[in-house]
Symmetry: C2
Subunit: 93 residues, 2 copies
C-alpha cells in the first residue's frame, strides 16, 4: 500500500470566493468520510486570498480513483464551474 | 532537469501565529530571489488558523539544497523555535 498525495491549486475569482468556500464544505465532509482518505485539507494563501490549495492524502491509487469518481467530487466540479480565474493545477505524487 | 516540489506543514501555537507570519516574510522574499526557485507560497487552513502549509517548487535537486543551506532558511528555522505545536512535516516529491 503506497500513500498517494494530491496537491490541487485553485485561483478563484474575487467575487466568487464565498461561493467557492461554501461549495468546498460538502466536498471536504464527503471526502473525509471516504474509507481510503487519510487527510483532506483546504488552505488559503496568506498573501492572495484568491489562491487556494487542497492538500489530500489517500491510502493508495484505488482510494484516489474512488474519490475522483465520487458524487461529492463530481458535483463540486460542476458547482465551481465559472468560479475560477484559471484552470485548477492538480498534481499527484 | 527535474522539478522538485516540497510541501511543508506547520502547526503553530495560537499565541505565536503573528510572530510566525512575521518570520515567514524574510524567508519568502529570500527564497523567491533564489535562482533555482520556481514558486514559494504560504497558505493557512480555512478551518484551523494554526495550520499552515508551504508549497515550494524548485528547478532541481541542487536548487532545493541551495535553499536548505541558505541564510534566510536557517535563520527562519532558528526564529520559529518554540513557536510550533509539533514538529513540521516536510515532504519532497
Amino acid at each position: 500500500m503506497e500513500k498517494k498525495t494530491i496537491v490541487a491549486r485553485a485561483k478563484v475569482l474575487a467575487e466568487k470566493q464565498a461561493a467557492f468556500l461554501n461549495a468546498t464544505e460538502a466536498l471536504i465532509q464527503g471526502t473525509r468520510a471516504e474509507r481510503g482518505n487519510i487527510s483532506y485539507t483546504l488552505y488559503q494563501s496568506t498573501e492572495n486570498p484568491s489562491d487556494f490549495i487542497f492538500y489530500e492524502e489517500y491510502k493508495d491509487e484505488n482510494a484516489m480513483s474512488v474519490h475522483a469518481a465520487s458524487k461529492h467530487f463530481k458535483s463540486f466540479v460542476e458547482t465551481i464551474d465559472g468560479m475560477l480565474a484559471e484552470e485548477m493545477v492538480i498534481e499527484s505524487f
